[in-house]
Symmetry: C2
Subunit: 330 residues, 2 copies
């Protein structure tokens, strides 16, 4: 019964097989080796129950085949979807994923970056909120939805175009006066362009509109207050609403219900993100859908790319509109 007396190393396998250590390494790593040797090594490895040790390789090569993903959490369905596809794309490229949840804590964001470096991850993909994020130099770093500098690639969907699309769609669906509700982060992030596109398009179309930006702390209460201000004689001043995210759109709809405003009869609502009930049971609101899969693919591809120079500094991916029951285009 010699169980886990001592861990079996490549050297042990080499001795057992009657070959040299280097030969074993080559067999394990699928490098060209004489067929007889290959078999001898494989047999010996089998006999001894040899198990490869990735920490040795990591130390030697300074590569871990591991990418750190830094994200607020996975409870938010959009983040869950993003993580899902990121994992898929990383796995496809033979990389592991080290997941770090920040819970929107800015100091944690920096701590995780530090931790990831200590653990010698091969790269970092980050969706963060700290405007003063300390982005390391020597390691591939890709951000989602946050532009820091031209040397740090940022991947985002076409937020401006999404805002334009929402405004157009509301007009097309017969709206006469529309509003956008947006929660503004202090950091001018890519998502803030949603309101810019909305405003720009509304002006161009000659559509009466309003944009309400509220601070990130209590968005829903502030949205409620705004809506009540514009609610007179049992009627909402707007017949079309574009809300910054699907979740907020859903929350706004709850408020509207309480006010006795019907959706989509009295007011049509469009959100942003493309969240589906349970991931595949239809959109929870009419929405501008982010191309999550493509975003993940570009992130993985960029962070693992050898070409560190001459990388695009901002990648914008196209969005699309989808019906979700809160507009009148069934």
């Amino acid at each position: 019964m010699n169980s886990d007396r001592k861990t079996v190393t490549m050297l042990d396998v080499a001795r057992e097989a009657g070959v040299a250590l280097g030969t074993v390494s080559k067999v394990i790593n699928h490098q060209p080796v004489g067929e007889k040797y290959r078999k001898k090594v494989q047999d010996a490895a089998q006999r001894l129950g040899y198990q490869y040790n990735a920490t040795g390789k990591a130390l030697r090569t300074n590569r871990t085949d591991m990418i750190a993903v830094i994200i607020p959490n996975t409870v938010n369905p959009y983040f869950a979807l993003l993580v899902h596809y990121l994992n898929l794309e990383l796995e496809k490229r033979n990389n592991k994923m080290l997941l770090c949840f920040t819970e929107y804590d800015r100091s944690r964001e920096n701590e995780f970056i530090e931790m990831a470096q200590l653990n010698r991850v091969d790269g970092i993909i980050a969706l963060t909120y700290n405007p003063k994020l300390s982005i390391p130099e020597g390691i591939p770093f890709v951000t989602i939805d946050r532009f820091f500098s031209s040397s740090v690639p940022c991947v985002a969907s076409d937020n401006f175009g999404g805002g334009v699309l929402a405004a157009k769609k509301l007009k097309e669906l017969g709206c006469r006066k529309i509003a956008m509700l947006f929660t503004g982060s202090p950091l001018t992030s890519e998502p803030s362009k949603r309101k810019d596109g909305f405003a720009s398009c509304s002006i161009e179309m000659g559509m009466p509109f309003e944009v309400k930006v509220v601070p990130p702390d209590h968005p829903i209460e502030d949205y409620g207050a705004f809506l009540r201000e514009h609610f007179r004689e049992g009627r909402l001043e707007f017949d079309g609403l574009f809300v910054g995210t699907d979740q907020q759109a859903w929350e706004v709809i709850q408020i509207l219900k309480e006010m006795g405003v019907r959706v989509p009869e009295d007011v049509q609502v469009i959100g942003f993100d493309g969240i589906e009930m349970f991931g595949n049971h239809g959109y929870i609101v009419s929405t501008i859908v982010q191309p999550v899969r493509e975003i993940a693919e570009v992130c993985a591809s960029l962070v693992l790319s050898d070409e560190r120079s001459r990388q695009p500094s901002l990648v914008c991916l196209p969005v699309r509109y989808a019906y979700g029951g809160t507009t009148r285009d069934a």
Copy 2:
């Protein structure tokens, strides 16, 4: 401009500080060291921009402070919540989380276990579906909802008790004939006890009941067929339904709506899990709530425990009932 010419090591710091390598290691690891030496080392480290390398430590100590979590995905809200709390508890104990998504693929489950071992994780927490899971010997292993053997700790909520609670609640809410819809995995898993508790309690209470178990492939279609079989003269035979999971309960309710059966007026529905809309906006159905936080806590605590022997082989955590709009106890 000497940027990343060469990575700074403890030896470099030792030389710069004029002390020995061992001393540097002790300072870094907060071991007792003369105050003067400590300062010298810290200054030198600062000056050189020294950065700790965890791969060296991993090789030397064979510990990575990393726990692998193996789970189908994070798109399912219940899994998302579980991962959320697992991460919290692991982080609290100074461990990193290596997340592996199986997408219910049984061979992948085993591959991830293999991968985790190669990477020398300190332990594995797994929620899997392969009855022939290859559980390694030399590494702490904790399962969720699946009992394999008394040497592999399993953490689950009190599924039997949850089934009892659901039956009791339905009776209490005035039901006269009830049914349980359950998706059975080929592996007799802990969750299957939900139906056992339901049946046992119904019998004891003298409540007419039925249990419908369908294979995991097309649960919803089969549920629909079952419901239509028991739908005669515009009326459902049951006035109370207990469904295996919240998601399935939600899907069943969609089917009932299409059939013209009103919830909760005509039939009351109770699910299982305790899924909330966006994690904190109220339960999506009336439900038996799993103590997710406690499950995560016990998992983390068990997998990191030194006492490998004399660990409980099955930990059952208490559930509770919560109203979610699909019963008549508003």
